[in-house]
């Protein structure tokens, strides 16, 4: 029915992003990550994108050095998830104008925001790229504005205290 969790791992097995939609304890989380990165990183390039894992399925896709993995129920539609991954990556790409791993490392919070716009409660929320990017931009603006405001206030205070 839904995505249980999303993880991004780099080729070296480093974790880049995790998001859990079902309830997992910290221990289960780290175990899942360890097991999956082991299983997925060892798979050859010509194999299919689905791995069975503890009665669930993990759909993964590799983009250069990053593996995007999403865990779903056994009877769920794998292709749907595969396309969600693709969709997510395209949005990231559009947002960062040519995304690379470093973007995700330094702007990890943005990646989270985008994921939040895309998927809520393990279900796809918005299937239009344009809507998501537009939204992200507007949020960005909001942040900028309030930063500026803060700066001006600080300036005012600074001037006054001088």
């Amino acid at each position: 029915m839904q995505i249980h969790f999303v993880i991004l791992i780099s080729k070296q097995g480093k974790l880049r992003l995790t998001k859990w939609y079902s309830q997992y304890s910290a221990k289960e989380r780290s175990r899942a990550i360890a097991e999956l990165s082991c299983a997925i990183l060892n798979r050859g390039p010509k194999l299919c994108n689905f791995v069975e894992w503890r009665g669930n399925k993990v759909v993964y896709r590799r983009y250069v050095s990053l593996y995007f993995c999403m865990c779903i129920d056994h009877d769920d539609n794998e292709l749907e998830i595969l396309e969600i991954i693709q969709h997510f990556v395209e949005i990231l790409d559009r947002y960062f104008c040519g995304v690379c791993e470093l973007d995700l490392i330094y702007n990890f919070h943005k990646a989270y925001y985008i994921l939040d716009e895309l998927v809520i409660a393990g279900e796809l929320q918005e299937s239009s790229k344009r809507v998501v990017t537009r939204l992200m931009d507007s949020l960005e603006l909001l942040v900028e504005e309030s930063k500026e405001k803060a700066n001006t206030i600080r300036n005012v205070i600074a001037q006054v205290t001088k």
């Binding site: 974790l15 880049r16 994108n49 989270y112 809520i120 409660a121 299937s127 239009s128």
Partner: protein, 932 residues
């Protein structure tokens, strides 16, 4: 901090700061606060409770961005408490037309999350209309979210949402025709594929559509999608799984689907191959397309050799599913061949599946033995014990097979490197049946012994034990005895007499001693009797796995039923020689007393002249009598009070006793409750028939996992003679009474241990027909034995996480039924709970949030079903009705049965329970219910 977390360090500081950020007034701070909490904290985290209010303020606030943030957060980690406090607000947002689509779609998904956490947040009646409205939505983003919510709602309750069905079809139509879909929602040329998938999925939950118009348009759409699938890979899957549902009218479409899937599995792209295989398996479960799929058999078999393990697994599943009598031989042989090359991860599964197939579809028995022996030979380590036990069982039960199997086993033993399991089977079979081969060359007892003995040095203790038995048997079958052989065997026995393993040591000593006796040995090691026919452990395993994979989705449910039918059918196939899953016949319902105290009161009434109550509990035979004292105190409290009560003495006149009629039941750890109901029964029986006879009878009952001990005491001064006792067990119980002495001397007491095996569930009660002579008076009594269903229950407590999925996974008869009882005086919940505890059902308070409901669970043991889980839920309405839902979850398959809860009206005189309405008499659940 998030960054630290990302790097996999444990972060357990700063949570507080994050939470305070949420309540900050500025956007960036709030944003950071939300994101941190939603990724760091688990939904049960204590801190989260503190923010419910802040979140709520955000949701009902005016600021849209704040609303979005809060909704996202709740959508991602909202728990139960959120569900309770926020649901109405979220609903309002979803429905309101003034909000932007952005907010509404978030609200939709957020509500979905809350709904998953707590089903009660969405009120069914009101929602179907609203849902229909929502499905008219133009914005595809909102529609996608709403559809997700819709799926969840529908999967729980299809009936309520019938009116939304045409809307779904319309959406699908709109998408398929690409009408009115904005450019931005077109994904690689397909209009919003995700929405399509979701819609089709929602449609799956409905049974076939009645309305011809809708159906036609749906059919058209599907046709169109199907057509479009050759090149585009995306949409295929939903068709396949969906078309399945509409298969009854659309036979032609099915074959189209399969043809398409056939194309898929031969494609080079691995993903598509994988999906093709998987969907074929799925279609097989539901539809009757076996013939069409069989055309692709060769292709599927090649997939077994695919480099990708995921694909190989699927192929294996598919092969397993498509197997029937016609192609079983090919497939099983293919599997065997593959077995020698398969990788380790899969071998066990493979071996198991091959064995199951062989058993289910074997065209003839020798083939079955062949396959299994080959299997053991090739897979060795991966063959579970069950498989070889089953082979042995088979051979033992089929006489024609014995020489053949023995010959085969002999041939295998010639091999140099032999797997240990193989040695076990061969040795066993040869031990039993080698004499059947004696005339063949190379099969004289001596030679066989030599071959087997070769292996002795290489095997592990359990196998050695089997080998020793084999020797003893060979020795026995050699008639006339061959002294040389005898010497050799004895030498071995003597050697193992001091072996470190006790089992082997014992065998060696015993066999040695026995074989010395010569002829006596013949009787002892006579051929094994036939095994009792029973369900194959393998099939059981197969069913297990099926139940495990059973899912809630509509397709699966249907298929599961089909599967279990299939299994029952195959059970009856001669080759599998197993009995169908036991279905007890119609049963009689004994009326029983129910209230904890009632039997005792009843007893007191009947027996007005109770002088003394002989509370003389005796623990089970092996525990011996020194526990008597303490146990007596622990005896059912109800017994003692009855002494004081003594109210009416209806039978006083007739029972001219200086002796007392006393009954007592004993409690012991596992069955701390007692035959309450039956004591009364027994008592009635006793009293009614024996009045006037000076005697005393003390049937002490000790039920201890199927062991009863009857105590017969004679308190009189003259002996009872010609004592006879006969047990008339009902079909579901196997009872063995040990020897009954002819006489019971005066002032003496005898014990009769009685072994009880519960074969399956039934409400019948065993009867003890007991007669004796006292002086010249012949007495005959029939007693009901308290070996009733609840004795075979063991309370088990189930946590909420376990209970509800199990509960929900069963829906509809015969899996789950329910019944509402009206017009009876309700029993207070605590009393019900008490009753349940007495009946060996573990009541789990607080599992259900509604205080008027009662949830209990227990495990039922019987020979045919082993342990199965029974779940019971009683829903009461404060007004006058009590509803009892009874559900059983059997290991192999699930049944749940509705029974009206018989709510007794406590009348002062007679606390007889209304005979429970018989549910489905075939269900163990009903039996259980009958007892309640």
């Amino acid at each position: 901090m998030l960054y630290i977390y990302m790097l996999c360090y444990d972060v357990d500081f700063g949570h507080m700061e994050a939470i305070s950020l949420i309540s900050a007034p500025k956007y960036p701070e709030k944003q950071v606060g939300y994101i941190v909490t939603s990724s760091l904290l688990n939904e049960n985290h204590d801190f989260l409770r503190m923010v419910i209010n802040t979140v709520r303020n955000d949701i009902i606030g005016r600021n849209e961005t704040f609303q979005c943030l809060a909704l996202t957060r709740v959508g991602n980690i909202g728990g139960r408490e959120f569900a309770e406090s926020l649901a109405p607000d979220v609903q309002r947002l979803l429905i309101s037309s003034s909000c932007r689509p952005l907010v509404r779609k978030k609200a939709g998904l957020c509500l979905l999350r809350l709904y998953r956490k707590n089903v009660d947040v969405v009120n069914i009646d009101g929602w179907s209309d609203r849902m229909a409205q929502l499905l008219d939505e133009r914005d595809l983003g909102v529609l996608t979210s709403v559809m997700s919510l819709f799926i969840a709602l529908v999967s729980n309750n299809t009936e309520a949402y019938w009116n939304c069905l045409p809307k779904c079809v319309k959406i699908l139509e709109r998408l398929a025709r690409n009408q009115d879909v904005p450019q931005e929602y077109t994904y690689y040329g397909i209009p919003s594929p995700w929405l399509q998938v979701k819609t089709v999925r929602a449609l799956q939950y409905f049974p076939t559509i009645e309305d011809p118009n809708t159906r036609r348009s749906l059919f058209e759409v599907l046709q169109r999608i199907l057509m479009g699938t050759d090149v585009v890979k995306y949409v295929n899957k939903n068709n396949a799984s969906h078309a399945v549902m509409h298969l009854d009218p659309e036979k032609e479409m099915m074959s189209q689907c399969v043809a398409l899937l056939g194309k898929f599995i031969s494609v080079r792209e691995p993903n598509i191959r994988y999906l093709g295989l998987e969907n074929m398996t799925r279609m097989l479960l539901v539809a009757d397309v076996q013939d069409i799929i069989k055309r692709h058999q060769a292709q599927i078999i090649t997939s077994l050799k695919d480099p990708d393990i995921s694909i190989r697994r699927r192929a294996l599943d598919l092969l397993y599913a498509m197997c029937d009598i016609t192609n079983a031989k090919d497939i099983a042989e293919e599997l065997l061949q593959y077995l020698s090359t398969a990788d380790f991860a899969m071998r066990e599964e493979l071996a198991l599946k091959a064995a199951i197939l062989a058993e289910k579809f074997a065209p003839d028995l020798s083939w079955y033995v062949d396959v299994n022996l080959q299997l053991i030979d090739k897979a060795g380590d991966f063959v579970s014990d069950d498989i070889w036990y089953r082979v042995v069982q088979f051979v033992t039960n089929n006489e024609d097979l014995q020489p053949y199997a023995a010959g085969k086993a002999r041939d295998y033993l010639d091999k140099l490197a032999l797997h240990e399991t193989m040695v076990k089977v061969s040795a066993y079979i040869l031990g039993e049946y080698s004499h059947l081969l004696a005339r063949r060359p190379g099969c004289s007892p001596k030679e066989i012994f030599a071959i087997i003995n070769d292996k002795l040095s290489t095997v592990s203790p359990p196998t050695i034990a089997i080998l020793l038995s084999t020797y003893a048997e060979i020795l026995m079958h050699t008639q006339p005895p061959d002294p040389e052989l005898q010497e050799q065997v004895w030498a071995i026995f003597r050697k193992y007499e001091s072996y470190i393993d006790v089992e082997i040591q014992q065998r060696a000593v015993e066999y040695f001693a026995l074989s010395r006796k010569g002829a006596a040995l013949v009787d002892i090691s006579a051929e094994m009797p036939k095994f009792p026919e029973r369900q194959s452990a393998l099939l059981k395993k197969a069913e297990d796995t099926e139940v495990d994979s059973a899912e809630q989705s509509a397709i699966k449910l249907g298929s599961q039923q089909q599967m279990s039918n299939a299994l029952v059918v195959t059970d009856q196939h001669p080759p599998s020689a197993s009995v169908p899953v036991s279905q007890p016949g119609p049963v009689k319902v004994p009326s029983q007393n129910l209230e904890g105290s009632s039997p005792d009161q009843g007893m007191a009434k009947v027996n007005g002249t109770v002088d003394k109550i002989d509370t003389q509990p005796v623990p089970s035979a092996d525990l011996l009598g020194d526990l008597l004292g303490p146990l007596a105190i622990e005896g059912p409290p109800g017994t003692t009070p009855s002494e004081e009560q003594n109210p009416i003495s209806g039978y006083e006149a007739s029972s001219n006793s200086t002796d007392a009629l006393a009954l007592s039941t004993i409690t012991e750890e596992s069955d701390s409750v007692q035959p309450i109901g039956n004591v009364a029964d027994r008592f009635h029986a006793l009293c009614l028939k024996d009045s006037g006879v000076p005697y005393e009878e003390d049937p002490y009952i000790q039920s201890h996992h199927g062991r009863l001990v009857l105590f017969m005491g004679n308190k009189n001064t003259s002996p009872f003679v010609s004592v006879r006792a006969l047990i008339l067990p009902p079909a579901h119980l196997k009872m063995e009474l040990s020897m009954v002495p002819e006489t019971i001397p005066p002032r003496a007491q005898v014990q009769w241990p009685l072994e009880v095996v519960n074969l399956r569930a039934s409400r019948d009660v065993a009867v003890l027909d007991f007669s004796y002579k006292f002086g010249t008076i012949a007495v005959n009594i029939k007693l009901r034995l308290p070996a009733v269903l609840n004795k075979f229950l063991q309370p088990i407590s189930v946590s909420a996480e376990e209970f509800f999925p199990q509960w929900k996974s069963l829906s509809g008869p015969p899996l789950k039924l329910q019944e509402v009882v009206r017009g009876v005086k309700p029993m207070p919940i605590p009393e019900l709970a008490n009753l349940f505890t007495n009946l060996q059902l573990a009541v789990t308070p607080g599992l259900d949030t509604n205080p008027n409901n009662l949830v209990a669970s227990t495990t039922f043991f019987s020979d045919s079903t082993k342990a199965m889980l029974c779940l019971i839920r009683i829903e009461t309405d404060p007004s006058d009705r009590t509803q009892l839902r009874l559900k059983e979850l059997i290991k192999e398959y699930m049944i749940s049965v509705p029974t009206a809860s018989p709510v007794p009206t406590p009348s002062p005189a007679q606390l007889q329970r209304q005979p429970p309405p018989v549910g489905d008499p075939n269900d163990p659940g009903a039996m259980l219910a009958g007892l309640l």
